[in-house]
Subunit: 334 residues, 6 copies
């Protein structure tokens, strides 16, 4: 099997312990995250070869990033060193009806100083079977957009599977480009669309509702506009409160509508990166299983990530398969 | 807007981590608390000017108390230094059906050594719009009772709003006075009564039941006996177990009965100080909103305090308003 | 009242904090555990005299084990020192649908190097009213089986009550003996069988189902084959997921079937040692109460252990009685 | 060998981590201490039978105290429960030229509520070979003085060895008695005086200087006034700064002057309880060795206590002997 | 006495625990620092009125900054909120011959987005007796330089004392201006120069050596070029290694050369902010004492800061005076 | 440059925090170590390609071991999985004159279950330039000895440099072979001997003294008996106490005696693995520098390892070179 390549910004998450506010304690924990890194890590835990391309500073922080990725068996050979700080975010973790708050410090990060031709795409895409990108990357800077487009074009030309997690975040698009246009251009090069009605509305300029019917109709329309797209998949979250969610996933695979069982997470440990866990589960599933099993695998991966501290899903393929076989009680394994 | 003044004892809470028993670990955390301090702090977080009057030792512990209050923007100018230790309590935090246990060390605290004329009430009440007291203070010593009465008389004479949280605790009344008499005397000087049927029964010598009807009847009777009281408000807690509560609030405002929606806290982080969060929410609400919105605000403040570590509600007015606007799922704010 | 004696292996539990995986952090916590030690400790917390017999290394680790037991008022006079390491296990704590994982390091422990005649049973059983053993001990090595048999024979000859927690774990029986035969031989010397249909099937070679009817039939058959057995008792666990369980207990006391109310633990703190808490509760109950109250006590002890960090139930008789009196909301005790 | 009995107040030490000031962090550590408890614990670590008499509250704090003592093999049978809080002190740990600061909360502790006839001295002194007291106890309250005197008289009558650590602290003597008179009365009943020129000056009303000559002259005078005293021993500390001390000890044994080698502690871990470690070392030494070896043992015990966290010396006789055999480089023991 | 005003950037220091490298642990501690903030805080601990002007983000991080300053009694009324992240730095703490490493993330901070006219200097300088600035501020951006110059001109016009800590750091001067020119322009407005031969060489373009003679000659030359400067003071550090330093200070006061005793810090706790502690000590000293005592106070403040965790000197005037009175052994204060 | 291969047992180090004894706290930290792993890690930090061969369990503990090695860029492709527990040791860290204590649990570890033919030596030694072994490995079991011999023979046949760290530990040789014979046989295949007079005495059966003269004579004799040995190198430690050491190194390179400057570590952070840091420094030095610089590099690597937490030297070549260039004051790097 070929490797999966992802490209994007890695961030350091810095957070007070438990549910404390920053001003309540001078103790912190950190994790590395970033949606494309999380996807690569989860895929390596499932047993796939992966490579992650990003930019880090050339000091002990960049060294810690690479150590983290190597520890989790993600290839770091194409990572670029630039003398700019790592992007990071502070997190105050909420509970029940109290919101979790995030404060970003990423606008002038090492990654935001990337420029076209810095990444050796030919080398990076050698032996690549799947390329994954998200809408965060083209939202950051003109250059991160252009660099991603370079890569996508090369991947497309090589016939590599390309999954697009559109992940639209209005706050990020500050450098002048129109999100709809840019995302459309990049989705046109992709084969799998990860997102739901909201994300399709953003790209299509439509206003479908969050029903299964509209999901199907929107998917068909998306595939019509972007004929390279062969499948649309999404997880849907119902939140009782910050600690208690349900997850169900759906897919339009070009010919039929698939839907998983709903999984309930009554005691969330960490909800960051659960969408990335879904994406990684989907990619792994589509590489190894049929569509329905792939979707169930993605849904289970998303659900079980809520029980893992940190940004990435660290569980094995076997542990996720265990969930879709119906073992939901978390019984002890001696 | 004028300031809110509160008066009472500040305590240090000392607790093992998590759900450990004291003998299980030598690691501890501490917080400062005390009902009137918690009310002042919450009101300052809502954007009000506040002043808190208490007694602390003249050493690094008293200095830490003042730092804590200053950090949270409570004026400490009237705080008295006495060469006696700070009152404190140890807490073993229970779970589910296991009770939380408290062991007090407060009977000979700095605050219990207060004496009349130590507080310069004229200075402290200058520019004061609201004075808040609780039944803990007159329960401690003859002198804390007399000092509070001094303050209440001055506040009453100045036409300041006075809220009384009767907070009856049988264990405290050990210095010889009768709780019913003392509380009655002080409630007579107050304009808002915070408490429910149990508290009114204590003051009135009645035995009303915990129904809405009885709440109304009791409130009317209370207002008859203490005609300065214009409103009676209370929160009502239903406990599934130590981790899972529901909170609903009600008010008799002299002419009508008001009741809030019920809020459910499925994963309690810290339940200490939730009654104080209600009181602070009520005072803020009555200073800024109509009665019903004030009650909803108080109920939401009480509920969301269950998600905050430590004794005081550290959330802003905006965060509490967010709850009463129906945003109960704790969604992430980036 | 005479003392309760238990015999078995003590283990050190080593675990990353919270729900972290071992590779995520170099911080760990440890607890001492082991089913028979947990039973002795819980019984000492209930106010009984207890003695625990085990083997520990003659160094700072063995010294820490004895300190732990002494701290919790278990007599350690019969503990043997051997120059072999303490058995231990690593624990990664799961959540919701993620399984908790255990990795053992016990096969060559100090306890596994025990040999017959090392324990001075006559001395250890002096003044003994109750002897408790579990199926873990005879599963470890030929010598641990023989040493236990020595003790059981002496205890039987002295007319001491003997409780057998059959605790069948297939993975352990590696030294050549057949579990069914060995357990049968030892149960024949015992007076109380702690276990359910699964455990009775293992011993009897039957295949009863997990119904109350089959529990009764199986119990009768067991008592017929092992006429010293006078009662069969078991707790039954329903798991919503790793954080949320229900516990109900049942007994066949030779003439009637008894069943408790079901207790729900919505937020589990630590589920290790909950079966041991049941056994200790049952022994204490049978020593002090009637059968039904004993069973309720055992069920409540099991349930409330889920709220205690570490392997042993550290709560007092009064705290468990409080549960069976229906106080399930965990209200604060000041 | 008979047991050693000590009597005095146990205190909880509460301290921020590292060198932090209390206001810098809400994390704390606690230890139990108190000079007479520390002596009993160290003696039990050396292998002696010990009993400690004190007063603790009848709640989870008192229970934690007893657990601590039991863990370290000190008999707690004579400990009294009173419904008053445990005495405690807060500690901010200095470094180099920054002073460590202590803030006490002990004036109304459980121990300070002791009264004559509460201790059953006859029972407590059965099988007692040595009784140890310090000047802290009679300094606290009239009743603690009277209770100690009760015990000393009984011990004296039984011909038990009695060591007096005069430990004069001016701040404590607030209840009306004159320190010189009270200490004199109690020293008159004692056989060993632990203290140096300063302490003897306090008791004798003299003004000897800190020279060896004056130490000898003062000791002779003390023995003349208090003829039961047979030996005077003291450790002498030279402080480069808060992290770096030297310890040397000296004794007048009635006929000759003895002095130890000086031990240097270049990196102090915890200096609390080092005087108590000296006292325990001296008592153990005098019970088991000749005078010079006893003094060397006491000096080494004092020095090595500076490397132990917490209030009590937890090292074994063998570990202390190792020091006086000249093994000062702390080489690893595998 | 009037207040002391300082102006500059506040930074968050983020550091792994102990001597760990970032990649060794995900646990961190944070402190707020920044040279001018540290000076203001130390001056407020000495009992002076202080105000600190900076820029912070308008979120929970900016709120934590203000809480920190308020806690330590620094007036925050003139602090500006801008929607840019807080500057920060990561610190790996070395030991002995291993260097401490710092990685900055400050180039696009909130403070670096300051612009002229944002600070209301007239308001901020009302009642101001002393203004303190460092060479960090004009090194950051054109606008931070211009804003500082605005303030200095106003302060100069009002006849306020102005201390200049030239703190030349070559790495910072990246925005186009020449350090020598800019610093000269600002020093011309100042009355006290804090720095040694190196700093004077930088400003004067000379190459004096680090001898007392050259210090005097350089000081005279500096005063000739910048006649507003009335005194030059500096601390001089001798480092045995990262844990063991000596500090001595010297001053040319316009007519004579003053030098302090040398203080030795054998066990450094935290060396960040020790230069700021010197500056604060000097300012406090010159406001309250004669020149020599001021210099001794500054030297002692610098030395004792090495024993405090975090960036700012938290000790009181009394604690520093204690050092210059020769109390260097850090004896315990009960 | 070719890779360096090391072979041996990896161990988990488990230790209470700070200087606590195990019984004082249930908090622990863990590190992975083992002398040959430490050498490989340090060499990878210096920029060399490395491979480490060991045996680990096939569970989350083995997975954590591999993650640790990968994080630090050691190739793990030849690591064997066996279903036996990881060897480990507990460490109580002493201070000053208090000894550090180690308690091992390694006798039945996964590594001790290795057998000949399990390691594919041909594959592992492909591209290998240097092979490093220590005397720990042949001391463990017959099979670990035989497996090492397999590897050494292959390496010898390929003309690979082989360094032997004889590391004689009497306690380990329990399986029946004679240490002198076995070590001699393996040294005969090696080219560099790492050890001093003590180690040579052990192998040669001599009793040379710890003088430079005897070191030279012993080295010559060793080279005569084992003519493949071309160099003998050793570090020499002088311990003031557990916190304060000096390190000096010497070499007989076949024709001349070399000796380094002595380095002083006044505040040791962690002394485990300092000998391994020397070995790695020597190998790196001999691969890249002349003999004297190699020895200075090894000595500096050994010294600076004392400032790193954990078992392995994590510093870069540049950081070690910095020491031998005389930069010993640990000055801050911004």
């Amino acid at each position: 099997m070929g490797k999966v390549v992802t490209f994007g910004e890695i961030l350091m998450r810095i957070t007070p312990l438990g549910n404390k506010k920053l001003k309540q304690s001078n103790q912190l924990e950190y994790y590395f995250g970033g949606t494309e890194a999380n996807v690569a890590i989860s895929l390596s835990q499932f047993g796939n070869k992966t490579e992650y391309i990003t930019v880090v500073p050339d000091d002990f922080i960049g060294s810690a990033v690479k150590s983290y990725l190597k520890q989790l068996e993600v290839n770091t050979d194409s990572i670029i060193n630039l003398n700019h700080p790592l992007g990071l975010y502070f997190l105050e973790v909420g509970a029940v009806m109290r919101s979790t708050k995030i404060s970003y410090n990423r606008a002038h990060s090492a990654f935001c100083n990337i420029a076209p031709n810095m990444v050796n795409w030919d080398e990076a895409l050698e032996g690549c079977e799947w390329f994954h990108w998200t809408g965060i990357t083209p939202a950051l800077t003109e250059n991160s957009y252009l660099t991603l487009k370079e890569g996508l074009k090369k991947a497309h030309a090589k016939g590599i599977n390309i999954s697009a997690d559109s992940a639209y975040r209005k706050d990020l698009w500050n450098y002048g480009r129109n999100a709809k246009d840019v995302l459309g251009e990049l989705i046109a090069l992709s084969t799998i669309f990860i997102g739901g009605v909201n994300e399709m509305n953003e790209v299509l300029g439509t206003d479908f509702e969050r029903t299964n019917e509209d999901f199907i109709t929107a998917s068909k329309l998306l595939m019509k506009e972007y004929p390279n797209i062969k499948k649309v998949a999404d997880k849907r979250r119902s939140s009782l409160n910050a600690n208690w969610h349900k997850i169900i996933s759906k897919m339009w695979d070009g010919s039929q509508f698939l839907e998983t069982k709903e999984l309930e997470i009554t005691h969330i440990v960490d909800r960051i990166g659960t969408g990335d866990a879904f994406a990684a589960g989907l990619i792994h599933g589509l590489m190894h299983f049929d569509n329905l099993k792939a979707l169930e695998f993605a849904n289970a991966a998303c659900a079980i990530k809520h029980t893992i501290e940190g940004d990435a899903n660290l569980l094995s393929e076997k542990e996720v398969l265990n969930i879709i076989e119906g073992n939901l009680t978390g019984r002890m394994i001696r």
